[in-house]
């Protein structure tokens, strides 16, 4: 894969963005790619929790500080490759999870949002030209808000994660027309938590669903991931790949990853 920024976005919350961003990054790095994973969800930071075991030193520079022009992106990124015995590199950029930091990122001026957008666009040069990463993944906040819009607009392709919930589907449809089309952004749909894992479904059923959804969204469906009870119940302060590397959820993401490489 050559220098691609992938944003993971959704219309409503809780569709599985963070779970997918984290495990996609780990899957890629496991295959030998060099990946940067950034937490752009400044309202509800998650990566600090997910990678808590892999973070050895107290975090001095958060992604917030980079956005506020207090440090360089290189000072923010933490290398967690050793912890998960990956063949490639995995660098993570964390959003500061303290309430004070979250509050500090909210309700900023338009002028600041312009500066923040410029900062995020500048990440491309640093990560690819200077750090020689293969791919950068943005985990974003749901819906239309500054950090997510900036992330989506500055990315090369966006994966919109949705469930089959009708509110999710309506939300995504609106977002595609009102936002993605307006910005002419390349985007694909990933259906997540689709069927109860116990319900067997034939290839036919699956393909029918894909065709139907492709018509609804007028976008390629790059994957249909079932709802796995044990993913739901999994310990969240350690990535799935560390606990159960042969989990079918990871196989699903491998396939999604391959398709994304060719987009």
């Amino acid at each position: 894969m050559r220098e691609k920024i992938i944003a993971i976005h959704s219309s409503r919350g809780g569709t599985g963005k963070t779970t997918i961003a984290v495990n996609l990054a780990l899957t890629y790095a496991h295959e030998g790619l060099n990946i940067a994973l950034l937490d752009l969800d400044f309202r509800a930071p998650s990566l600090f929790g997910v990678f808590s075991e892999g973070i050895k030193k107290p975090v001095k520079c958060w992604l917030n500080d980079f956005m506020l022009d207090r440090c360089e992106i290189g000072q923010v990124l933490i290398d967690v490759s050793d912890k998960y015995s990956l063949d490639g590199k995995l660098l993570i950029g964390l959003a500061n999870p303290t309430i004070e930091a979250i509050r500090n990122m909210m309700g900023r001026s338009r002028a600041w949002e312009v500066a923040a957008a410029k900062k995020l666009f500048s990440v491309r040069t640093s990560i690819f030209n200077e750090m020689h990463m293969d791919c950068c993944i943005f985990d974003t906040s749901p819906g239309i808000q500054y950090s997510s819009i900036n992330g989506v607009v500055s990315s090369d392709v966006t994966v919109i994660v949705t469930t089959l919930d009708s509110l999710d589907i309506e939300g995504v449809k609106n977002m595609l027309v009102e936002f993605y089309d307006e910005f002419e952004k390349k985007s694909v749909i990933l259906m997540n938590k689709v069927f109860p894992q116990t319900r067997m479904w034939s290839d036919n059923e699956r393909n029918e669903l894909i065709t139907k959804m492709q018509r609804v969204f007028k976008r390629p469906i790059i994957g249909v991931i079932p709802c796995y009870c044990d993913v739901l119940e999994a310990n969240r302060d350690s990535p799935l790949i560390a606990e159960n590397p042969s989990h079918p959820f990871l196989k699903d993401l491998q396939e999604v990853g391959k398709k994304l490489e060719n987009i």
């Binding site: 500054y146 607009v153 002419e184």
Partner: protein, 124 residues
């Protein structure tokens, strides 16, 4: 030319005019929204025409016509660019980029500076 042919041709022209009107109205609507915001903000702060600036943040970009929005997004990506650089990025004509960028400068969203014979546009 017989009357029927003429009529068919006329109807065709009217249809085309209608379409043009529609896009003008749509464009006008978007411009109005931008201008409204602009007014709201400027009534709060006095300005002189030269120093006056608007912020092209992503939410404001929503209310711009897509032809202009594209230029701003390209400029975010390039940092600072001539109309030629912009045209390479957006795959549109240089003249299109030049006119869009200059319009954005007049609207207060972008700045430009001259260096020799080249004009560079940038987001302040």
């Amino acid at each position: 030319m017989d009357t029927k042919k003429l009529l068919v041709q006329l109807i065709g022209e009217v249809h085309m005019l209608n379409q043009k009107f529609d896009s003008v109205v749509e464009f006008g609507g978007k411009m109005l929204k931008t201008q409204e915001e602009f007014l709201q903000r400027t009534t709060k702060q006095k300005h002189t025409d030269e120093t006056f600036k608007l912020e092209p943040d992503m939410v404001t970009l929503f209310s711009l016509p897509s032809a202009l929005r594209k230029t701003v997004v390209a400029l975010y990506k390039l940092g600072e660019a001539t109309a030629e650089d912009l045209a390479r990025e957006t795959k549109r004509l240089r003249a299109v980029e030049s006119s869009a960028a200059n319009q954005l400068v007049r609207m207060g969203f972008l700045s430009k500076r001259r260096e020799g014979r080249k004009v560079y546009f940038f987001i302040e």
